[in-house]
């Protein structure tokens, strides 16, 4: 096998391959998928000199360790964590050189949830419908990493890795503020429920995942009973299931749904949502459409 490959030494709790996802197939029931903290993934790629859409590794809480078969430039971004090469500390949020056969480890996150590991050339597993992303809802793309998985790396493009010591990144949120535009189904809720949504504090539920950020807090009361016929749902939709607790749809969300969507959060607030630990307070701030 080619030496342009990464062997997974420690897969961690949940590490997946992610790129920009596969938008454009929602009409076939195919979720968009892709990196949850897209700016962090793009930064990791920029740091090593990859195009923004190259595939990276997305870790969950406890990082991962990989061993490249040839010398590579790598970068770890997103949730801050100790980064080591063969056990020696190196910079987080900066390009680092990893010799052939050395172990690059992203340790447990000291804040936030998801770290991103980019390697020059990008993870080059076979794309599915134009994307290398693992989609945990429908099972498209590569399976989550397991110890011993070997991932092919792509050829580096002519670019240069960034000449920076450490790139500035937003810290993980201690309070998640989600700006939300109301609709399309805000009329399915009482005026009191809409006041509750905009004023009360929720918390991130431990049941959150790549499909949705679940919340705990006051239930939103419906003004209408009955079922909503299935309709298309967008990334960032705030869907309200029968228990009344809002769920914010993240990258692996289903493409259609039958529970009313009370509002949609601004795209810029998706990255902080991807880094909010269970228990983090959540405030929804109602804003007008642009």
């Amino acid at each position: 096998m080619t030496d342009r490959a990464l062997a997974v030494v420690r897969a961690g709790a949940l590490t997946t391959v992610q790129d920009g996802g596969r938008p454009g197939y929602a009409h076939l029931g195919v979720p968009r998928s892709g990196a949850l903290d897209a700016p962090a993934a793009a930064l990791a790629n920029r740091l090593v000199g990859n195009p923004a859409g190259a595939a990276v590794l997305e870790t969950t809480l406890d990082g991962c360790a990989v061993r490249p078969r040839s010398a590579v430039v790598a970068a770890v971004t997103g949730a801050p964590c100790p980064v080591t090469v063969n056990g020696g500390p190196v910079a987080w949020g900066a390009p680092v050189r990893v010799p052939a056969g050395a172990v690059l480890e992203a340790g447990a996150a000291v804040g936030g949830v998801r770290s991103y590991v980019a390697v020059l050339g990008g993870v080059a597993v076979e794309p599915v419908l134009g994307s290398r992303s693992t989609d945990l809802l429908s099972g498209l793309g590569p399976a989550p990493l397991t110890d011993g998985t070997v991932l092919p790396l792509g050829r580096p493009v002519a670019g240069q890795h960034a000449r920076v010591d450490v790139a500035p990144q937003p810290g993980p949120p201690t309070e998640l503020v989600l700006r939300v535009t109301l609709g399309p189904r805000d009329d399915w809720f009482t005026a009191e429920a809409l006041r509750t949504l905009g004023t009360r504090v929720y918390r991130v539920s431990p049941a959150s995942n790549r499909i949705g950020l679940r919340t705990e807090g006051p239930a939103l009361e419906r003004a209408r009973t009955g079922e909503l016929p299935s309709e298309g749902v967008v990334l960032g939709a705030v869907q309200v299931p029968p228990d009344g607790r809002p769920v914010v749809f993240l990258a692996d969300h289903p493409t259609t749904g039958g529970y009313p969507v009370v509002g949609v959060i601004r795209p810029a607030d998706l990255a902080p949502a991807a880094q909010a630990l269970p228990g983090t307070p959540v405030r929804f701030v109602v804003v007008r459409h642009r």
Binding site: L28, P229, S230, V264
Partner: protein, 217 residues
């Protein structure tokens, strides 16, 4: 036609019926094909069409609100044929809902001509309409934790075929060996919105009966 804002970049267009939704979907696809509409996703559903990835949703909303919807175009010429063994565990329950004998269920189901109204739930899962309204059935009171791939099932006005094993609450009436979704195939999904579909009954031993375009593989 009612146009609802969905975030800053999307619109949900709501119409009165499934037929209107299909006509609207066809019209929006035509506009996109002719370069009149720039949009990332056009997602038809039961009574709506979602447009996502719009640069100026407010302007399009105003335009659509006053637009006349042209009639639905004629359906695609050739129907996809799906061979089915009508051997599902819920045949008796469906027969009871329909008020017919169990042997009548395959005859009635296979006589209908279906159309993919929309997709969702899983890649390649189509919601097919075509059964007369009197044959609507409720979902099962308790969903199954695992419905096998290829299960042909009914719920509400819809027929669907499970592309892969998954939990499900639909009433199972049969089984097909046809592959509904294969990402290595072009196109990956056998059933896309607007596709005509017929179910062709086969005997228990005839699993490999050749099908029409995109049939059993």
């Amino acid at each position: 036609m009612r146009v609802l804002r969905v975030g800053d970049d999307a619109l949900l267009v709501e119409v009165a019926s499934g037929e209107e939704a299909q006509a609207l979907h066809a019209e929006l696809k035509r506009r996109r094909a002719e370069g009149l509409l720039r949009v990332t996703e056009i997602v038809p559903a039961a009574r709506t069409v979602l447009l996502d990835g719009l640069s100026d949703p407010a302007r399009l909303a105003a335009e659509l609100t006053s637009a006349e919807l042209p009639p639905a175009p004629p359906p695609s010429r050739q129907a996809v044929e799906i061979p089915v063994r009508y051997d599902g565990p819920d045949l008796a329950e469906v027969a009871a809902h329909w008020g017919v004998g169990e042997a009548e269920v395959p005859r009635i189901h296979a006589a209908a001509e279906f159309r993919v109204a929309f997709c969702g739930f899983a890649p390649g899962f189509g919601y097919l309409t075509g059964l007369p309204a009197r044959y609507e059935v409720p979902r099962r009171a308790t969903p199954r934790t695992a419905v096998p791939a290829g299960a042909v099932a009914l719920a509400g006005p819809y027929t669907g075929v499970y592309p892969r094993s998954s939990p499900g609450g639909w009433q199972l009436i049969g089984t097909t060996d046809t592959v509904l979704f294969d990402h290595t195939r072009v196109p990956a999904a056998l059933l896309t919105p607007g596709t005509r579909v017929r179910f062709v009954p086969v005997g228990a031993g005839d699993a490999a009966v050749p099908a029409g375009p995109g049939g059993a593989v």
